[in-house]
């Protein structure tokens, strides 16, 4: 609703907006509020309207909360949604995020009342279905990873990393010495060092070699008896598979350390090869990447962790077990468990979606990896020579170019990303890997078709040409989005982190002490 021109006596819009007089932004929901409006109703109270709470413990009305009707809410959120780019609009090649198609049947299954309206603390006898589903998901992930057991509890990849490292620590502590350090290549995602830190470890960064992979000599040198684990992303964030993974595992194991695999990129070899066979001891997976649970604008995710036999005693509590009679139960009696990382069983709704996804592919799930790798290499072939490729080792599911050439014209990866929006695409990842300056980290995923990939390549090439012929058009991009380039620096300089009734906004930024 265009409140700005809400006054019947208002004059015609300013000249600049003549052709497009409608305000392009949607008011904040609180600005749609109006005294006395209601958007809900509840059944009349069918019991005495008593309050047994002492006045001193009660609050007054929630000052500033909304008064608004259903039609306005429906319109507000429908209009807001249309300001978003989504996978269902077009290719979303956000590197490392695996923005693949989210099959709709998974949403339907997750909404079945026996899952969506069930409660994990109901008596076991009436939870048979929920327990069986989670158990089956664990079996599938065991088969795909080739590891001994899987915990489904972690809420996302980062929490999975923490759980994994905590299990390593528990095993080492049991063996006498938890050790002090975790090794992490400089190409790793930020959550790796952060998770190691919250597990109580010092982080030692390993410099990648010229191929963009782990340097075995560097590893040899760093891999002391003080090192609890090497956190390796396989394939790494450059999309390169550590082809010497077996030797890496030997080196780590030789010193009594554990090999942790960040499985965020499992999409590139799921169903093709098994981490367990590579000597990987512990690995988290992102169900919201490899197994297609939707990203929802930033979650929810789910980060199951698969572990080798020796870490099984330390799995988070509870585990889901199957009795000989085929019934299922939660096992809390696990004295060596690291404990819990959250309430209940995990992001159960994601379990339903992921198992539905795995069931859709079944024993042909390797096609996912094959498609993802084919697509990434097709894009690589289409852009090689147009954009700079710092590391030219074979690519798996993603390829990381850089803006090196364009930077000479003063155009950077961020600008190229913004300009891609005008071509109808989401930008690639540009914030990492940190070892590629001006990175353009492109992950098409297996659910993009050739024509879409061709269109993306054509757009990237067209932009490269624009950088030569008319860099301004790229530097000022985007030109066609709901809002023009957004001032992110300004957002941090003058912090406005919540809506306040008009007039009071200004104060917020300054209130900080």
């Amino acid at each position: 609703m265009s409140v700005e021109i809400g006054d019947p006596t208002a004059s015609a819009p300013a000249l600049g907006d003549r052709l497009h007089p409608e305000p392009r932004h949607e008011p904040i929901v609180f600005e749609r509020s109006g005294v006395g409006k209601v958007g809900y109703s509840l059944p009349p109270l069918d019991v005495p309207d008593v309050s047994a709470i002492p006045a001193g413990l009660l609050r007054g009305e929630i000052e500033g909360e909304t008064e608004i009707t259903e039609v306005e809410v429906a319109r507000h959120f429908t209009r807001l949604s249309r300001l978003n780019f989504s996978i269902d609009e077009n290719t979303y090649p956000l590197g490392s995020c695996t923005m693949k198609h989210n099959p709709r049947i998974n949403e339907e299954m997750a909404r079945l009342p026996g899952f969506a309206a069930s409660h994990p603390l109901a008596p076991e006898e009436v939870c048979a279905g929920t327990l069986e589903l989670a158990w089956r998901l664990e079996q599938s992930l065991k088969e795909l990873t080739g590891l001994a057991r899987v915990t489904l509890q972690p809420a996302a990849g980062a929490q999975g990393e923490l759980a994994g490292i905590l299990m390593v620590r528990a095993a080492l502590a049991k063996a006498g010495n938890p050790r002090t350090t975790v090794l992490i290549p400089d190409s790793a995602h930020g959550t790796n060092p952060a998770s190691a830190h919250f597990a109580g470890y010092k982080v030692k960064e390993l410099k990648s070699n010229a191929r963009g992979t782990l340097d075995l000599d560097v590893l040899e040198a760093a891999m002391t008896e003080d090192v609890a684990a090497l956190m390796l992303t396989v394939p790494n964030t450059l999309g390169i598979f550590e082809d010497r993974i077996l030797e890496i595992a030997k080196i780590v194991h030789a010193k009594g350390g554990y090999l942790y695999c960040d499985g965020a990129n499992f999409n590139s070899f799921v169903g093709i090869a098994r981490p367990g066979a590579m000597g990987i001891d512990v690995m988290h997976m992102n169900l919201h990447k490899t197994f297609s649970t939707p990203h929802g604008g930033g979650g929810p995710g789910s980060g199951p962790v698969a572990v080798t036999e020796s870490l099984v005693p330390h799995l988070p509590r509870p585990t889901i077990e199957r009795r000989d009679d085929g019934t299922f139960f939660l096992d809390f009696d696990r004295p060596e468990s690291i404990g819990r990382l959250r309430t209940f069983l995990g992001n159960y709704g994601m379990f339903v979606r992921a198992l539905a996804y795995i069931s859709s592919y079944g024993n042909r799930i390797g096609e996912v990896a094959r498609g993802a790798v084919l697509n990434a290499n097709y894009i690589r072939a289409g852009l090689t020579g147009v954009y700079h490729l710092k590391y030219d080792a074979p690519s798996m599911h993603e390829v990381v170019f850089s803006d090196k050439r364009q930077a000479e014209k003063g155009v950077h990866n961020g600008d190229i990303g913004k300009r891609l929006m005008d071509y109808g695409f989401h930008p690639p990842t540009i914030s990492f890997p940190l070892i590629v300056h001006g990175a353009l980290m492109i992950e098409p995923t297996e659910t993009e078709g050739r024509s879409g990939l061709d269109a993306f390549v054509a757009a990237m090439r067209a932009i490269a040409r624009e950088v030569e012929e008319d860099p301004e058009i790229v530097l000022k991009a985007p030109h066609t989005t709901p809002v023009k380039r957004v001032d992110e620096v300004g957002a941090a300089r003058n912090l406005i982190l919540r809506w306040k009734p008009a007039g009071r906004e200004s104060r917020i930024g300054s209130r900080e002490s």
Partner: protein, 449 residues
């Protein structure tokens, strides 16, 4: 495969463009010795998936086919049809974290609105874009307090905090050199504030108390705030039943420095325990230590109001091991659901949900107290959940009720070895419960003594 848009012809053309003869060639860097096709069943069609998952779903008792009184940190509150259906929109469902503001204003503005709602409900200045769920939110709050209060290593937690929250804190703390001490509950079910006060000293960086607490009792924020602040510790208010925030004095009004907990009650279905919706709010003075994502208001190149993620320098992708948290993906879609819910119910509706839940709980308390052999051990005022003591063991009793399609409560024996607790269970009531359901529970209890 139906999700793979590449025909054989396309694939061959692509291989040619790449310059390899087969897709296998692209996997050359994976040692042959580790390759193996998975031993999984053949692909299932949608029709088969509906049959199989439909069968699993049918094995579970749930809130739509039972008289439902389960709570303990996860509640069966009203969720509107408009919120439910809005989540189907691909623009919400299939978009990523809004790193690129020009094509993510929908998500960014919704988070900004969510942050505002949480600030209003908790009476705090700043809220983040969500955390995983209540237990890890408490951990993040305590770690934040630790950063804010340098040189102290001890957190005092009330035993009234959800046992799974406390267990989670221990999991996270164990290797960080941080210490947890637990303050006991008094006979009325509330935290023994004087005992708690004695545990707080100059080594204490935070005092955390949950209200309504795990037994349903409403705590006295003010007294606890005093106990914490008098020794220079921060006061962390924990809320596991967020519907109560519309009726009870919010922690922010009682001097809380940080408020955290679980907002599932505000528009998120139970989902068998997840996805849920952790939240955290704090004072402006502390905002630079807040964990997780934050959305701020700014402007676009033409001066129009716009939103963007901000203060990212706190976060792992920039700060790495020095980040305020390792969280990356959070609970975006649930924050949206909750924003829709809070916006729709608003000032009046959130309050009515809370007061109806309370009134109905009081009714059920009376009905159960009147059943011979049953008693309510706690005397403290409660919001919508309370402890019942049965004449015999609670767990088998609740199983018997479940077979009669009554999910009557949660046995305390799940978390407690205390003999008395073996006969006790938690009963939760919301605006969704009818008088008939409550009468049927009381009747069933009477019959099962």
């Amino acid at each position: 495969m139906k999700f793979l848009p590449t025909s054989d012809a396309d694939r061959d053309a692509m291989l040619a463009a790449i310059g390899v003869s087969s897709v296998d060639d692209l996997f050359a860097s994976i040692p042959a010795s580790v390759r193996q096709a998975p031993d999984l069943p053949p692909p299932m069609s949608e029709i088969e998936i509906r049959r199989f998952f439909g069968g699993l779903s049918a094995k579970n008792a749930h809130a739509k086919d039972c008289a439902f009184f389960l709570g303990a940190g996860l509640y069966n509150h009203y969720v509107s049809a408009v919120a439910d259906q809005m989540l189907y929109r691909a623009e919400w469902l299939t978009s990523y974290t809004p790193y690129q503001p020009e094509v993510s204003q929908g998500t960014l503005q919704s988070i900004f609105e969510f942050q505002t709602h949480i600030c209003l409900l908790t009476a705090m200045d700043v809220a983040n874009a969500s955390l995983y769920e209540g237990a890890s939110a408490l951990v993040e709050a305590l770690l934040m307090a630790d950063r804010l209060v340098r040189g102290r290593r001890r957190a005092v937690l009330s035993r009234g905090i959800h046992p799974e929250y406390r267990e989670t804190v221990r999991t996270y703390f164990q290797n960080l050199g941080l210490e947890v001490v637990e303050a006991p509950l008094a006979a009325d079910g509330r935290t023994d504030v004087s005992a708690l006060a004695r545990l707080v000293d100059e080594t204490t960086f935070a005092v955390a108390v949950q209200s309504p607490n795990f037994r349903g009792a409403i705590e006295d924020w003010a007294a606890i705030s005093e106990a914490a602040h008098s020794r220079g510790a921060l006061f962390v208010g924990v809320v596991a039943e967020a519907a109560s925030l519309a009726l009870l004095t919010p922690p922010g009004e009682a001097g809380a420095d940080i408020v955290c907990g679980e907002a599932q009650s505000l528009g998120v279905p139970m989902h068998n325990g997840g996805p849920l919706l952790g939240f955290l709010s704090c004072r402006t003075a502390h905002q630079r230590q807040i964990p997780g994502r934050l959305v701020g208001q700014t402007a676009d190149a033409e001066g129009r109001r716009a939103f963007a993620l901000t203060l990212s320098t706190r976060e792992q992708h920039i700060r790495r091991e020095k980040a305020t948290s390792n969280i990356c993906t959070n609970q975006g879609l649930m924050a949206l659901a909750s924003n829709i819910h809070m916006s729709l119910l608003g000032k009046k509706g959130l309050r009515e949900v809370a007061s109806q839940s309370h009134a109905k709980a009081e009714y059920l308390k009376q009905r159960i107290a009147a059943v011979p052999g049953y008693r309510l051990p706690d005397s403290a005022p409660t919001f919508n959940e309370f402890v019942v003591e049965a004449p015999g063991p609670a767990a088998p009793l609740l199983s018997r009720l479940a077979r009669r399609r009554i999910l009557g409560g949660v046995a305390l024996s799940r978390w407690s070895r205390e003999p008395a607790d073996a006969r006790r269970f938690l009963v939760a009531v919301t605006e969704m419960n009818t008088r008939e359901e409550m009468d049927s529970l009381a009747k069933a209890l009477g019959e099962s003594t």
